[in-house]
């Protein structure tokens, strides 16, 4: 229940985050391109590519947080929106290869050539234009989320049922995209990209530009999320999370409230995917893997859900940890990662940001009290509730902070 307590510092925190991201968008490319490789300040290209990738993950985690943290919808299928955005971008990049593919076919991507496609499938039309691909990056995940959410939220599928069907959705898409007959390159996916908007995707400058684009987009997304969450709609979103039926009896259409957030979130995830693909150079059905979507949830949880900065920090830290461990402890990193998840849930149930906030709790409570006093209100401020491990509540409740309790029976 620390919502309001860090609300005091929240706006400043958002501003700092946006500032850091924008600064990074300028400084990192500079340090990569303009500084001599021997200098201590030089940022190697692979670090640029790597952090660029992390920023895309952070955007994905932020997208998930909008629906999970603020609306209580635990989507175990956000990887699907990410991947769809990525595929849309990948299709554009494939078309850009033109006749430079190994078979030199100006129209058909290589995988279609050796699978004996005679002509381009209809759904590949238009992807030779960046604007069209860009539109699809937004439209495809958005539309899927809209249709899926339309049905699910109207039927009042909630809680674990919703989580499981989002998982079923991404799993079905995984299987579908694995099929070579789908025309998306099957298991190999789309790869071997050459140009984006006429620039070589492997050039350092392009990489830096993509990094900057990711950072700026993330900054923008932070701003948009912050604006949404701070608006009356944002209050409503949290109201739906906390007491959905109450909002209905007040005349709000909870399904529309959720649908809007879900769609916006899916579009954000799609953008993240689109930025991710040119930076890693491949998109394949593996991104639809349900395990990937679960990992996104883990990032958000580690950072602290229901906060805007938390999921970003979570995504950056977990992925950096993963990169580091897979290099340093290749045989044992899963122990470390698994242990981290267990430890975070047990010791930092509100994530790093939540932990930080409650640690600062008492001092803030005092400040809040004085603010309240200035505002002419009663200074009766109870110190923020300790993070309680409410072992006494019954199993089967969906979540302490989450909407309707769902008895398993």
């Amino acid at each position: 229940m620390s919502g309001r307590f860090f609300a005091a510092g929240a706006d400043r925190r958002i501003a700092i985050t946006i500032f850091i991201l924008l600064a990074a968008a300028v400084i990192v490319p500079l340090l990569n391109l303009a500084v001599s490789p021997t200098s201590t300040f030089y940022v190697p290209s692979y670090i640029v590519a790597l952090t660029g990738k992390y920023l895309c993950y952070a955007l994905l985690a932020l997208a998930l947080d909008l629906v999970w943290g603020y609306c209580g919808i635990l989507s175990l299928g956000h990887g699907a929106f990410f991947a769809l955005g990525g595929y849309a971008m990948g299709m554009y990049l494939m078309r850009q290869i033109g006749s430079r593919g190994v078979y030199g076919n100006p129209i058909l991507p290589d995988f279609m050539v050796f699978l004996n496609y005679k002509e381009l499938p209809w759904f590949w039309y238009g992807f030779d234009h960046f604007w069209f691909a860009g539109l699809m990056v937004l439209a495809v995940p958005g539309l899927l989320a809209f249709v899926f959410g339309w049905f699910a939220f109207r039927s009042r599928v909630t809680g674990v049922y919703l989580s499981i069907i989002t998982q079923a959705m991404t799993y079905a898409l995984l299987l579908a995209f694995f099929r070579n007959d789908m025309g998306f390159g099957g298991n190999n996916g789309l790869t071997d990209f050459k140009d984006i908007l006429g620039f070589n995707v492997q050039a350092d400058a392009t990489r830096s530009a993509l990094f900057a684009a990711s950072a700026v987009t993330l900054a923008l997304a932070v701003f948009v999320t912050w604006a949404i969450v701070g608006s009356k709609y944002g209050k409503l979103l949290m109201a739906v999370r906390d007491a959905e039926s109450r909002t209905r009896f007040l005349g709000w259409r909870a399904e529309n409230v959720k649908l809007f957030a879900f769609t916006v979130s899916a579009v954000m995830a799609g953008i993240a995917g689109a930025l991710y693909v040119p930076q890693v150079g491949i998109i394949n059905p593996g991104e639809f893997e349900p395990a990937n979507s679960i990992e996104v949830v883990v990032w958000a949880a580690v950072g602290g859900r229901g906060t805007i900065v938390g999921p970003i920090i979570g995504a950056l830290l977990v992925n950096a940890g993963k990169s580091w461990f897979t290099g340093v402890l290749p045989e044992f990193w899963l122990f470390a990662l698994g242990g981290l998840f267990v430890a975070v849930t047990l010791l930092l149930p509100k994530g790093i940001i939540g932990m930080w906030d409650s640690w600062r709790g008492n001092a803030r409570a005092l400040r809040a009290a004085s603010i309240a006093e200035e505002a002419g209100t009663d200074a009766d401020v109870t110190p923020p509730a300790k993070i309680v491990r409410s072992a006494a509540t019954k199993p089967g409740d969906w979540s302490a902070a989450s909407p309707e309790p769902q008895p398993a029976e």
Binding site: M1, S231, F249, G251
Partner: protein, 248 residues
């Protein structure tokens, strides 16, 4: 019986859950501007009746009309709420992670679609309305407090306040004084009587003192249908009522 002058009209309503008849051909009429108290032992179907009126549960059979002409069985919760039926739950349900003021703001009458909410700015008129309601429910000094930090009774009041903010024609109030002190109960009774001056109200309550305090017509439900109806004295004198309350 004419529906024309009624605010709520239930006729022959039945509903069952997995074979259990929660409501059994219930008929109930509430006139415009009337306040009615509904009593009845546990499982009499009081809450289910409210579920039916507010669109949460569809009746298996029977007619439910609001304001004489609107068939409520054809609408869902949000639509019914927009028509002007407000409901307070048995267990006080407020938005705990919001402040009192935000709770009221979300309840204030106004457009209920997404985009206006997204670009909403609070007008002075709205602020004044909120101030008024805060005054009525006596929570003016806690407007920036999180709802989670309110006492049980205060939550009840906040919820009633949210109903007022909705400005409904009909209020359904489920056990408003459960868990309140005697003083609070009296306050609540006065509050409800105030409200009843320009709203139709149905109050479900176990607390007989409170019902007496309200001083309105009483309907006693039992096993999903009306057992007895009239003044409190009349109803409590009814032998069948005594029987269901005290057991055989």
């Amino acid at each position: 019986m004419s529906k024309s002058n009624t605010i709520l009209y239930l006729d022959g309503v039945s509903v069952s859950f997995d074979g259990f008849r929660a409501i059994n051909s219930l008929s109930l009429v509430l006139d415009k501007g009337e306040m009615r108290a509904i009593i009845g032992p546990n499982g009499a179907g009081k809450t289910t009746m409210m579920d039916i009126v507010t669109g949460k549960t569809r009746p298996d059979e029977g007619e439910v009309f609001f304001d004489g002409q609107v068939d409520l069985t054809k609408h869902d919760e949000a639509e019914i709420a927009m028509m002007g039926i407000g409901r307070k739950f048995q267990k006080p349900t407020v938005f705990e992670s919001h402040t009192i003021e935000e709770n009221l703001m979300l309840a204030l009458k106004g457009p209920r679609s997404i985009f206006p909410a997204l670009f909403h700015r609070r007008s002075t008129a709205e602020t004044r309305q909120i101030d008024d309601i805060l005054g009525i429910i006596r929570l003016g000094d806690k407007r920036n407090e999180l709802a989670a930090n309110l006492s049980h009774g205060q939550k009840q009041w906040l919820e009633i306040g949210m109903l007022l903010a909705q400005d409904p024609k009909l209020l359904l109030v489920d056990e408003p004084v459960a868990g309140m002190t005697d003083a609070e109960t009296e306050e609540t009774a006065r509050l409800l009587k105030d409200i009843a001056r320009d709203h139709s109200v149905i109050v479900v309550e176990h607390d007989m003192h409170f019902v007496r305090e309200l001083g309105v017509k009483v309907t006693c439900l039992h096993e999903g249908s009306v057992l007895s109806e009239g003044t409190l004295d009349f109803v409590s004198a009814d032998e069948r009522v005594v029987e269901v309350y005290l057991g055989r």
